[in-house]
């Protein structure tokens, strides 16, 4: 029976078993070929030590080793805790029971690890064991703050620090940290100047009385709690540093090279509940030297309910799911993926595969013992693909025709038909008009411009213009061209940082916004990168007044006719250094202005050929077909928001780029995959899965699609008027018969329905809100869309009444039109009975149709 209720996706019934933090699926590649789950306990076959060789340099140098055992089930497990360690030359080094080796004197030695009857060897060379390393404030002091968590974004590494004390996030700017500690002062976001009176946080005369130690040891009240034990190694290191005059140390590359990168082993961990794995962290300096950082970093588990991590880097699997461990060292951040596997499933079914999407999705499902749902029924597939490719449900006669067809290639053929339909052009123009923000806005942008911009999108979609070309045209738009109107949303050119942020978000899937005021607290983006990219938009200006604006960039990057008193400086200045910023790509490459170059175009060419571009594009298109991106939100790529299927994302991106950024080819590939064609009916193994595409997850229809669907089912087209209901005068009106997805600039048309159901105002990159709300419930009950259309003259009910349609006919046609399926016998019988019971046929038909268009089955794509 039809259940009438508000348009609600009841996600509440899903207990999200899998964590939001997701396993780097690349770990699948680390599994040995032939890996299998076995009932009998696996036997240890061989051992190896990691690293197999290493040189320790300098006094007090050390190296953590891991002992890895190869088992008969072809898995490798961490056996470090069970191993005994011996050194061939104890005069050169000593080893503790955890597998950490400390240098004593120069020489060579071999480390042997024994587990049972098996052993493994690693060679060690010790050099300069008597040479103290030159003191380095970044390494020796900031390193302490980093592993003690003092300079995290939630503490003193936050934008403004904590309680007047600011440290750079994870020690990315150690010179500034030194200044804040030694000289004092209160940090200000937009200037290098300090505010308030400067007061040092150290006491050179009485180092133990230094505020920085008093707070960390809780001798003085400290909101961050106890961070250092008095007398601990780190405590003494700080005391000695203060006692020595609080030097910065040599800052030259030779004496104190910076850490260029961190590496973690293993990068992806693959465990069962209860198993453990130690992490090995190695820092690589600018001079190429490697150093063990396993004990000099801070470990943070993403979801500790899935897996926890100790301060020494020991990961313990708790329950099936995916998570990650963030590893933070001075100025560096790296992540290890952790997957905790469910118990293996016996008799896991063979599932046929249509293309590489299925390979990637189904391999992962098998790993997690999730069985994909059955292939969708023809009716289910038909409705879904029509809505996803053409934005409209199929008409009843097409449902009958498709379901009746015995053609084994009918799905493939249907996809082709839809890809070449005019409705495809309508729908994807609507999608991109939404993303590209075609609107008139309350300020009243010239609708000629918004329509020209819309028409450019439509022409691009109709011609299946390569997506990189579309992006290039928009990012680098100049003149009076249609895409250049994007840069005049409020009749004036927006601030360059806004324009830059939007392009990067839409076309690269990254949000750099945080880095506008400070280095991104969680990501690699620095404030310098933000402003370097912004500088590409800094010379953009408009020629002429509001009705005649032509977009151009100042030739040579210098303002032309700068001969007016009080003129604004159009150079992009770094907000903190106040220095002019040279346009620079995210990879650091500078593209300075020359007499006649166009750096914004060069940036657009770089952006649209960068791997990020293809990844962001395929992820966005993917989300339109599955309701979520492989990275989700689709424009929020970051290390703490990894893709659910990184290998799939890479392969899709490669496919897209290799195809010439052909949107139709990409959509065809997705639509043809079995993954897309799975049923929305879940099975016991996948009913909780929302992120692995084991079954189709119902998606609420967007406002425009829902309105069009209601118009189709009721047989009463919507009239889109620019006029408010109580206004006088003729006003403007969209051509009769215009569908909501065909509106050129949706915001000028008064429509309570579209507003209630989430039409975005397009002020910023639209994020549609699909959550149900009370207004929707009220609108279903009393709104014009759900009520006035039902009995309108010329509508479907009017037709039934005119021709005297039987109850069976009515129910069948209504189900085909609304749900794209035949009613079941039970449904049909019950509804016919209800209709017959109503003395007023008209009322009965109205109530029936109202119930249908109010139902979830109708309001969702499933």
């Amino acid at each position: 029976m039809i259940i009438t209720q508000t348009r609600k996706i009841d996600f509440g019934r899903f207990a999200v078993r899998l964590s939001l933090y997701t396993l780097h699926y690349a770990l699948l590649c680390t599994l040995p070929i032939g890996f299998c789950w076995a009932d009998a306990p696996a036997k240890l076959v061989s051992l190896r030590l990691m690293p197999s060789e290493r040189t320790l340099q300098g006094k007090k140098a050390s190296q953590q080793f891991l002992v890895l055992g190869q088992f008969s089930d072809k898995r490798e497990r961490d056996l470090t805790g069970e191993a005994r360690f011996t050194l061939s030359n104890p005069a050169s080094a000593r080893a503790d029971e955890s597998g950490r080796v400390f240098a004593i004197s120069d020489g060579e030695t071999a480390l042997t690890a024994n587990v049972g009857s098996l052993s493994a060897r690693a060679s060690l060379k010790i050099e300069g064991s008597g040479v103290e390393r030159p003191f380095s404030f970044p390494r020796d002091i900031v390193g302490i703050f980093t592993r003690r968590g003092c300079n995290t974004a939630g503490c003193h590494g936050g934008i403004k620090g904590q309680a007047g004390f600011k440290l750079s996030t994870h020690g990315i700017h150690p010179k500034e940290d030194h200044k804040w500690i030694v000289e004092g002062g209160v940090f200000q976001v937009l200037t290098e100047e300090t505010s308030a009176q400067k007061k040092s946080r150290i006491d050179l005369k009485s180092p133990e009385q230094s505020l920085i130690l008093q707070k960390a040891t809780m001798a003085v009240a400290h909101g961050g709690g106890l961070r250092l034990q008095k007398g601990s190694e780190d405590y003494e290191a700080i005391v000695n540093w203060v006692r020595g005059g609080a030097p910065y140390g040599a800052a030259d590359k030779e004496s104190n090279p910076k850490v260029a990168r961190l590496e973690v082993f293993p990068r992806d961990i693959f465990l069962r509940a209860g198993e453990t794995q130690r992490l090995l962290v190695t820092a690589y300096y600018e001079d190429g030297r490697a150093e063990d950082f396993t004990h000099q970093v801070l470990y943070e588990a993403g979801h500790s309910s899935v897996a926890s991590v100790s301060s020494s880097g020991r990961v313990e699997a708790k329950k099936p799911g995916e998570t990650g461990v963030l590893i933070k060292a001075v100025g560096n951040l790296i992540r290890a993926g952790v997957g905790v596997l469910a118990e293996p499933m016996k008799d896991y079914p063979q599932v046929s595969r249509n293309n590489f999407i299925d390979d990637e999705v189904f391999d992962k499902l098998k790993l997690f013992s999730i069985v994909p749902s059955e292939l969708s029924s023809d009716a289910e597939f038909l409705r879904r693909i029509c809505l996803d490719l053409a934005g409209a449900a199929p008409p009843p006669h097409r449902v009958r025709e498709f379901v009746a067809s015995k053609d084994p290639r009918k799905r493939e053929k249907l996809i082709e038909t839809l890809l070449t339909s005019p409705e495809y052009i309508d729908y994807w123009t609507f999608r991109f008009a939404d993303l590209f923000r075609v609107a008139v806005f309350p300020v009243g942008i010239n609708p000629k411009w918004s329509q020209a911009y819309w028409q450019w999108i439509r022409d691009s979609v109709a011609a299946n213009k390569p997506y990189n070309q579309i992006a290039l045209e928009r990012i680098s738009a100049q003149g009076y061209s249609a895409p250049s109107r994007h840069y005049l949303p409020y009749l004036v050119v927006p601030p360059p940082q806004d324009s830059m942020g939007e392009q990067v978000r839409v076309f690269m899937g990254r949000r750099l916004d945080c880095a506008q005021c400070h280095d991104h607290p969680y990501e690699q983006w620095s404030q310098d990168q933000f402003w370097g990219m912004t500088a590409f938009f800094g010379s953009m200006f408009k020629l002429g007044g509001n009705p005649t604006s032509v977009i151009f960039d100042f030739p040579g990057g210098k303002e032309i006719a700068a001969d007016i008193a009080g003129a604004k400086d159009y150079r992009v200045l770094h907000p903190r250094t106040k220095q002019e910023v040279v346009p620079a790509l995210l990879d650091g490459k500078q593209i300075p202005y020359t007499a006649n170059n166009f750096p914004r175009l060069e940036m657009a060419q770089w952006m649209t050929s960068h791997p990020y571009f293809a990844e962001a594009a395929v992820n966005r298109i993917w989300s339109y077909f599955f309701g979520r991106g492989i990275v989700d939100p689709v424009d929020d790529y970051r290390s703490t928001n990894p893709p659910t299927h990184p290998q799939l994302l890479r392969r899709l991106a490669s496919y897209f780029a290799d195809s010439g950024y052909d949107l139709k080819k990409l959509m065809r590939l997705i639509a043809q995959s079995r993954t897309y064609q799975l049923s929305s009916r879940a099975n016991p193994s996948n009913e909780d899965d929302l992120i692995n595409y084991s079954h189709a997850v119902p998606r609420a229809l967007d406002a425009e699609l829902l309105l069009d669907a209601i118009s189709d089912v009721t047989g009463v087209p919507e009239t889109f008027s620019m006029q408010m209901p109580d206004a006088k005068g003729p006003g403007g009106q969209a051509p009769p018969g215009t569908r909501a997805v065909q509106l050129k600039e949706t915001d000028i048309y008064h429509s309570p329905f579209l507003d209630i159901y989430g039409r975005p105002n397009r002020f910023s990159v639209p994020e549609r809100n699909a959550k149900p709300n009370l207004s929707q419930a009220l609108h279903i009950l009393a709104g014009t869309t759900y009520n006035d259309k039902l009995l309108a003259k010329g509508g479907r009910i009017d037709g039934w009444l005119t021709r005297g349609a039987s109850g069976t006919e009515v129910v069948e046609e209504l189900y085909l039109a609304a749900f794209s399926r035949e009613p079941s016998q039970q449904e049909s019988a019950a509804l016919v009975k209800l209709l017959d019971r109503n003395p007023d046929r008209k009322d009965g038909l109205r109530d029936l149709m109202w119930a249908v268009i109010s139902s979830r089955e109708f309001a969702e794509n499933h």
């Binding site: 032509v550 003129a567 003729p730």
Partner: protein, 588 residues
């Protein structure tokens, strides 16, 4: 003739049509149909106000005529276009006329006025076309299935979009390979027509679905340019197609008339711009003088033309200006020079070297001979030999709120060099992305010539009431340091009317927030007022009298030649009750 010139004229003519009438004076709003085939006639309806007692329709061409059938109040409730401003609260009326266009009538846009006891009305456009004209079907054809059939080309269909959201569909058959041109024309009624060409392909979803083949709202949406839609399309298949006319944003109204012209590309009919004015003054005429237009023609005799608007006797020998072709290779010229070139690829910069002496006062003028703003935006920059910017054709100002800088390119810039030296004139498009063989320019680099610039008279017609005084304002531009006087006279006044100069209180205008280097881009201007003293006994005019406004520059006591500024229509009407505001209640 160049398109840009038509556009400017059309723009000014549309402005003519929307100028408000004085209260009680006859005012025309629209005429439907607004065109007729050369050599044919039709019944038309003129919408307007205060048309009672109309005696004649007055055309700008002797080959056009009309007979008035009657005037009734318009019972429809549709308000006139919001774009139109009317100072009259009089009800809208409908005047029925039988129009005739003799075979000798010139093709293109004409103007008509109506004569009433209150004087002559404003002018509204009326088009004479070569193609046969047919009316829009009386029935609705706002759906594809009800499309009006077009059976022969070429044809002009006279249609109207009276209601909001109204669409007019027309269907036609074509052969494979045939190219048709469609124009949706309007004439200042407020309608902004759009055209969409469809093929009735049907779709998998809907058998009646149309597939859009082409769409055009107008060639370029830019202030001052026509809003007519145009599609030229080569058909790949035999078959039936549809063309749709609709108003931009779906507005409709009683004056929203259009002409849909459909013709083969290979037609024998003249391929002229449909909106071309039928009667153009010769380009050299004083009356067409444009000082700061992108489309005014810069010719080697430019200096002579400028001196003709000053006191030529002071000029001495006036040289012809040498024409220099400019390309990517820098060239050297001496002032004066007329530079011709094309920015034929994006980001191309043309460079011209020249030398000046301290105190040299130069003017740099630009003409865009083919593409113009907003597609081709010529940016001129004059830099010293060491690269320092001396001046540009970009005028920077601060908006009235003081928070935004506006930049505008100008077709003329003046500058006085403070020192001797070699300079380079750079010519480019202001964008980096655009440039093609149609980005053709003429740049004139010359000494400044103090002269009378454009002289503006707003009025097109003045209806004088015997015993009263009519007023006409004249605004004169003084260019390039012209510090003499400009004598103004009116010739050809009706009997009993005398023109005399008077003063008029000028409204106080707050100074702009920051006008920038306005002296480089704007002339000095002065305003004068003519008072038409009409004797009580002055006889009423049976037809409008064409008066001529003449200007004559005077410099250092030397008078220049007469300059015909404008022709306006004057009528004298008697102060009878018929000329007073009408009691419309009584007319009901």
């Amino acid at each position: 003739m160049r398109m840009t010139f038509w556009m400017a004229l059309i723009a000014s003519s549309l402005w003519l049509a929307v100028r408000a009438a004085a209260p009680g004076e006859p005012e025309l709003i629209s005429v439907f149909p607004f065109g007729v085939q050369q050599g044919a006639g039709l019944k038309a309806t003129i919408r307007g106000r205060s048309l009672e007692g109309a005696s004649a329709v007055w055309f700008d061409c002797e080959h056009l005529s009309a007979t008035i059938s009657g005037v009734v109040n318009d019972a429809s409730t549709s308000a006139p276009s919001k774009k139109k401003k009317s100072s009259s609260s009089a009800p809208v009326q409908l005047m029925s006329v039988d129009m005739k266009a003799a075979s000798g009538s010139a093709l293109g846009m004409h103007y008509l006025r109506v004569l009433t006891p209150r004087g002559v009305s404003n002018a509204i456009p009326f088009r004479i076309h070569a193609e046969p004209g047919i009316p829009e079907d009386a029935g609705r054809h706002n759906e594809p299935a009800a499309a009006q059939q077009i059976s022969a080309f070429p044809v002009v269909i006279n249609g109207k979009l009276p209601g909001g959201g109204e669409l007019d569909y027309y269907s036609f058959e074509v052969q494979q390979g045939e190219t048709l041109r469609f124009d949706a024309l309007t004439a200042g009624s407020g309608l902004d027509p759009g055209l969409t060409l469809f093929e009735p392909t049907g779709s998998w979803f809907r058998p009646d679905r149309l597939t859009e083949l082409a769409f055009n709202d107008e060639e370029v949406s830019y202030p001052g340019l026509p809003v007519n839609g145009r599609i030229s399309y080569k058909f790949a298949r035999n078959g039936r197609y549809l063309i749709r006319v609709n108003g931009f944003l779906g507005e409709g109204g009683s004056d929203y008339a259009y002409q849909l012209s459909v013709r083969r590309a290979s037609t024998d009919y003249p391929d002229m711009d449909p909106m071309r004015p039928a009667h153009l003054p010769p380009p050299s005429a004083d009356i067409s003088w444009k000082e700061r237009s992108w489309s005014r023609e810069l010719k080697p005799d430019r200096l002579k033309a400028l001196w003709s608007r000053a006191a030529p006797s002071l000029a001495g020998a006036i040289p012809e200006i040498a024409v220099v072709k400019v390309g990517e290779q820098p060239v050297s010229v001496s002032i004066p020079a007329l530079l011709e070139g094309a920015i034929d690829r994006p980001a191309q910069v043309h460079r011209v070297k020249f030398a000046v002496k301290a105190g040299d006062r130069v003017a740099v003028e630009v003409e865009t001979t083919r593409k113009t703003l907003p597609q081709f935006n010529p940016y001129l920059r004059i830099v010293s030999a060491d690269g320092d910017e001396a001046f540009t054709n970009v005028h920077s100002t601060v908006n009235t709120c003081g928070d935004l800088i506006l930049k505008q390119i100008h077709p003329k810039t003046t500058y006085s060099f403070p020192r001797d030296g070699e300079f380079i004139l750079e010519i480019r498009d202001i964008t980096h992305l655009y440039g093609d063989s149609a980005f053709v320019y003429r740049v004139m680099l010359r000494q400044q010539v103090p002269h009378a610039g454009e002289i503006h008279v707003a009025e097109e017609q003045i209806n004088l009431i015997a015993g009263e005084v009519g007023i006409m304002s004249v605004e004169t531009d003084q260019e390039e340091g012209f510090d003499g006087q400009i004598a103004l006279t009116v010739e050809g006044l009706p009997e009993g009317v005398r023109a005399t100069m008077g003063t008029e209180l000028q409204p106080r205008v707050p100074p702009p927030y920051n006008p920038g280097k306005v002296e480089r881009f704007r002339p000095e201007s002065q305003k004068a007022t003519f008072l038409f003293m009409t004797e009580r006994e002055a006889p009423a005019t049976s037809n409008p009298v064409e008066a001529r406004i003449i200007a004559q520059p005077v410099m250092k006591g030397k008078a220049g030649g007469p300059i015909l500024v404008k022709r306006i229509l004057l009528t004298v009407v008697k102060p009878s009750p018929a000329n007073l505001p009408v009691n419309h209640e009584a007319l009901k």
